[in-house]
């Protein structure tokens, strides 16, 4: 099946439609919540949570012997939450910084999870196959009930975000100030963190433990490049996330069921790279263009002001001077002189130049800081 076939089948084929709606929903909810994580500088929290969920999956399997995703994800949720609260505990109770706490919990839980997975794989019963899909994700295994669960969580999450929008914005920008206004910051903090954990756990089946955090970060990082408004950023991140999910799934399903996680993450990275380069206000490309243009303007005005200083010494400001004098000015080129003529600041006659009234006025007003604003 190639990509074109995939997109024509999405609308007719039940399984493909289920998978596509699932990954789109997942991308949207992680994009939304990811904006909050990124702005709180908790980007790596998602990574720690997803890795911390792995032992939960393994233990849930060992206890119940069941492979249905809801049971396993409940285990993931519990161990993800335990990991999160341990991280908080370490940060508040010890002198360790948050990156150390995150790294410790991440590797401890992931190591334990891998240990359990290999233990399960060595067991004689054949039921164990397929647990490793939680490492890198396999969207093809999504069924309708999984998608419903995602949709419900996304709906609740959206409702809560809209309800407490003002409070969340305040918390993200200035936590101390939020406290002094009488808002319970602990409640808000636990609320948002719980949703982040939920969204990550829901994504494990599709994207997998190892790369789940990218679903949180990449859409948000891309969205930040395009806007200076929090609400637009959250909406954009949701859109980028949804598209990464859909496109990633399409590619993965059409190429012999590649692991979905890596493909989705690569698609999301393309969004990020495109945004980093082409965003009009923050993008590298336009920054560079503006930089070059500014330099050119500065050179032009520098030349003009040099000419102004010479012209000023005469009673008649439009008195002609030899072009040769300009060679004394470091940075003078014939090109800049021509541009000044084009702008009607300077008149050039044979080897003599003279300032126009307009040019004199412009030069005398150059960089008069106190006149600005």
């Amino acid at each position: 099946m190639d990509i074109q076939e995939y997109f024509s089948l999405v609308f007719s084929d039940y399984t493909l439609r289920t998978i596509t709606i699932g990954t789109a929903t997942l991308g949207a909810v992680t994009g939304m919540l990811g904006s909050f994580a990124v702005l709180r500088k908790q980007s790596l929290l998602g990574d720690a949570i997803s890795h911390a969920a792995l032992p939960g999956i393994a233990i849930a399997f060992l206890i119940t012997g069941a492979k249905d995703s809801n049971t396993l994800l409940l285990g993931a949720l519990i161990s993800g939450l335990i990991g999160t609260f341990w991280i908080r505990g370490i940060i508040s109770k010890t002198h360790l910084k948050s990156d150390t706490a995150l790294g410790l919990i991440l590797s401890l839980f992931f190591g334990f999870g891998m240990l359990l997975l290999t233990f399960i794989q060595k067991q004689p019963n054949a039921n164990q196959a397929g647990l490793d899909k939680y490492l890198f994700g396999q969207a093809a295994t999504l069924v309708e009930s999984d998608v419903w669960l995602m949709a419900i969580v996304t709906g609740i999450c959206l409702f809560v975000l809209l309800l407490f929008w003002k409070e969340f914005k305040l918390l993200l920008f200035d936590e101390d100030y939020t406290k002094t206004l009488g808002f319970n910051t602990k409640f808000l903090d636990i609320l948002i963190t719980t949703f982040i954990v939920l969204a990550i756990v829901l994504g494990l089946q599709t994207v997998g433990v190892v790369l789940m955090s990218a679903m949180l970060l990449a859409p948000a990082a891309a969205a930040r490049q395009w806007t200076n408004s929090l609400s637009v950023m959250v909406v954009l991140a949701a859109i980028f996330g949804a598209f990464s999910g859909v496109i990633g799934t399409a590619i993965s399903a059409s190429q012999n069921n590649l692991s979905t996680g890596p493909v989705i993450v690569l698609v999301a990275s393309v969004f990020v790279m495109f945004s980093f380069i082409f965003s009009p206000s923050r993008g590298l490309l336009f920054k560079q263009i503006r930089f070059i243009k500014n330099r050119r303007d500065l050179k032009l005005y520098k030349t003009l002001s040099f000419m102004y200083n010479i012209a000023e010494t005469h009673d008649d400001i439009t008195h002609p001077h030899a072009v040769k004098i300009l060679n004394n000015f470091h940075g003078y080129t014939k090109g800049t002189l021509q541009k000044l003529v084009d702008k009607n600041y300077v008149i050039l006659q044979e080897n003599m130049w003279s300032l126009t009234e307009d040019g004199f006025k412009t030069a005398s007003n150059l960089y008069n800081q106190t006149d600005n604003e």
Binding site: K166, E167, F173, D174, Y177, T180, L230
Partner: protein
């Protein structure tokens, strides 16, 4: 100046680890003063403000605002944090930040409306930042950011203002603009408490001063207690300032 006590602190002790940052502070701040809190680095000046405002949990002690516990009097108190305590690359505008000052009186869930927007615009005008209302906050200079923070507190229309180093990193124009606003607040009968670093300007800007270095050294009118003796006790070196009286 009234005789009412605006802020009363009793036996306040704060410690981060083993060492106390504030030790047994008793403090009474009368209504209507413009007060500087001075002391060396690590003296606990910011900690004092943050403990009064409930941002930090003290080991012991109590705070009352006009005779009642702080928790019941939040609406009377406004706070201007240190400028460096937030990320100014946050995606929002100057007006939006000032609007945050109305969130406390709105309470949970309710959204700001025209009335709140109007109040925010008035505050922006007071600090001379109206023309910057739609500017992304990262594109403001340090002094402008400080003015935005001040406007956000003004919107709260409080009786008592706590400010953590509002003059840090601002130019002379902004410093004068800010101190004029603070003096206007005092004229309107408000109480203003400022963590301050520049000892030279204390007599010119403030009428009340508290010397702090883990313990409270002295508190009272600037003209009575702002002298070499208290400065030496607070800073631990032989301090000489020329005070213009």
């Amino acid at each position: 100046m009234g005789n009412k006590i605006a802020v009363k602190v009793d036996d306040l002790t704060v410690a981060y680890n083993y060492k106390p940052v504030l030790w047994d502070i008793d403090l009474e701040i009368p209504e209507g003063v413009l007060m500087a809190i001075v002391g060396p680095n690590g003296a606990g000046k910011s900690t004092l403000i943050k403990s009064i405002l409930g941002i930090l949990n003290p080991i012991a002690g109590s705070v009352s605002i006009y005779g009642k516990p702080y928790e019941k009097q939040r609406s009377l108190v406004a706070y201007v944090p240190q400028k460096g305590s937030v990320d100014w690359d946050f995606p929002t505008t100057a007006l939006d930040v000032v609007m945050m000052g109305t969130y406390g009186s709105l309470g949970w869930i309710k959204r700001p409306r025209q009335k709140e927007k109007k109040a925010a615009l008035e505050a922006l005008e007071k600090v001379g930042m109206l023309s910057f209302k739609n500017r992304q906050i990262s594109q403001l200079s340090g002094g402008q950011q400080q003015r935005i923070f001040l406007a956000r507190a003004l919107v709260q229309n409080a009786s008592i203002y706590f400010m953590d180093e509002p003059f840090q990193g601002v130019d002379a124009t902004t410093e004068i603009a800010i101190i004029n606003i603070l003096k206007e607040l005092r004229k309107a009968g408000k109480t203003v408490i400022v963590v301050h670093h520049d000892l030279q300007t204390v007599p010119e800007y403030f009428d009340w001063v508290t010397f702090l270095n883990v313990k409270k050294i002295a508190t009272g009118p600037v003209k009575d207690i702002f002298n070499d003796d208290n400065l030496t006790k607070t800073y631990g070196i032989n301090y000489k300032v020329s005070i213009q009286k």
